[in-house]
């Protein structure tokens, strides 16, 4: 039997983040681990990993970047064959970088994602949300995940990168191959190579015909200490924009749509009090944090009584941390005006999600635009909703009627 087929006996010593029940709803499992004698669980599945579930532990690990490195950041070990080929060294900087390179890897892209810089994408995002809604509003039914949420981040990112929107289906397929179907090694490698090859083409076309005011061109022309940045960095950032910017945000938008479909009282609250939007977005991010990242232990260490060895994988379950009752009152409840919310949906420490301001903007605009045009809607059949999970958690089919 493969790792995904064996039944879980004890979740604290044998968890399976790809078990169907866990993919659908990981929160009861996180709670069981968090409140057990072993709040940092361990499994032998998928070559082994640790799973901290308490807020303080997850944050401490995120902060200790020298001990818990970002040599690998996926929840699964690299697929065999990943390290072959001319561009095998391409990562997704800065999330796959450690200091000292991490500093300039990150410094170069942060200005692009500062709040004042991403604000320019709000009108375009609103237009594209409206265009998506135009497609189905007269039908009275829609898939909030695959007709709506799924199309928003990929189009925003394509526009930002300066690549044609006609690549949407390919990008979506590659990103899903890289992040969602990661127990399928062959598809993972193929997806990664497709991404890198596509951007090699984009870089070459810009080298031949320089463009102005285009993100890839800007990256290619960036200099560090008087030298142009290496091509691997340019390709890596393009890879990052896809793998970190598409599946993640679409999952968050989808989860929030799923929530809103079931909570007329929250729709009403936001309609009657639009000032709630800033705290509401943070609260929804807390409760539906989509992303779990991984770290690789640098050297043998005992952490909270757990004997971690050099090379061990640690899963940074931000969704579990965000529902720790030690940090958040009534953690499973959505409180749109929650006052104390130190959530870590975007991580913590030097690897805080660089695109967080863009993600927030997309989430807010996607929800606002839908709620303005379709104020009342509900799930057609809650049991028919399907989910992705493991690395990124969110609905993939979510039929609603209105």
């Amino acid at each position: 039997m493969t790792d995904t087929q064996k039944p879980v006996t004890d979740i604290t010593t044998d968890y399976d983040i790809f078990a169907p029940d866990f993919i659908k709803n990981p929160y009861p499992g996180y709670t069981e681990i968090r409140e057990s004698q072993c709040p940092i669980a361990h499994t032998e599945r998928y070559e082994g990993s640790w799973l901290p579930t308490r807020y303080d532990d997850v944050v401490a690990i995120a902060q200790e970047y020298e001990t818990f490195t970002s040599r690998q950041i996926l929840v699964m070990p690299p697929a065999a064959g990943r390290s072959e080929g001319p561009y095998a060294a391409v990562g997704a900087p800065p999330i796959t970088s450690d200091p000292p390179d991490h500093h300039w890897h990150r410094r170069l892209i942060l200005p692009v994602f500062a709040p004042q810089a991403v604000a320019q994408y709000e009108p375009g995002t609103r237009d594209l949300c409206n265009a998506l809604i135009d497609e189905f509003i007269d039908k009275g039914v829609a898939d909030a995940a695959s007709d709506y949420a799924q199309h928003i981040p990929v189009r925003v990112i394509s526009k930002m990168l300066g690549v044609p929107l006609t690549m949407e289906d390919e990008f979506t397929d590659w990103v899903r191959g890289a992040l969602e179907n990661i127990t399928d090694a062959e598809r993972r490698i193929k997806s990664f190579r497709s991404i890198v090859e596509y951007f090699i083409g984009e870089v070459q076309s810009r080298a031949a015909n320089p463009r102005e005011d285009d993100f890839i061109t800007q990256l290619m022309n960036t200099e560090v200490e008087g030298k142009k940045v290496p091509i691997e960095y340019v390709l890596g950032v393009c890879n990052l924009m896809l793998v970190a910017g598409i599946d993640t945000t679409w999952s968050a938008i989808g989860s929030c749509m799923w929530h809103m479909a079931q909570h007329p009282e929250h729709r009403k609250q936001l309609r009657e009090n639009p000032d709630l939007w800033p705290t509401a977005v943070e609260e929804l991010l807390r409760v539906y944090a989509p992303v779990t990242m991984a770290r690789i232990v640098d050297h043998d260490i005992e952490f909270q009584g757990c004997p971690m060895k050099a090379g061990d994988r640690v899963l940074m379950a931000f969704p579990a941390a965000n529902r720790d009752p030690r940090q958040f009152e009534n953690p499973d409840e959505v409180i749109l005006d929650r006052q104390n919310n130190r959530h870590v949906a975007f991580g913590s420490g030097i690897h805080r999600c660089a695109g967080s301001n863009l993600a927030r903007l997309e989430l807010r605009v996607a929800l606002q635009t839908w709620l303005e045009r379709i104020p009342e809607f509900e799930l057609i059949d809650p049991s028919s909703v399907t989910w992705a999970g493991g690395q990124v958690h969110g609905p993939r089919k979510c039929m609603v009627k209105f």
């Binding site: 944050v59 994602f113 500062a114 006052q339 919310n341 975007f346 967080s356």
Partner: protein, 66 residues
């Protein structure tokens, strides 16, 4: 009651939760890290917002002095 805020810039990693909670007091610098907009006395009307900024910072980079 008098109130001032201190930002530990080295701890700030640009979550921007402070600017969301208290946009009159916290903004964003070029790389999206926090920038304190009111370095002197914080007007009393903003005290509640500043406390929320402090209690929403995931990096605990804000200190309130009163």
């Amino acid at each position: 009651m008098n109130m001032k805020v201190l930002l530990d810039y080295d701890s700030c990693h640009g979550h921007q939760m402070c600017a969301i909670a208290a946009p009159e007091v916290f903004g964003s610098d070029e790389i999206g890290n926090a920038k304190v907009l009111i370095t002197g006395e914080i007007p009393a009307a903003l005290h509640v917002k500043v406390r929320r900024a402090e209690s929403n910072c995931p990096e605990r980079a804000i200190t309130i002095i009163e």
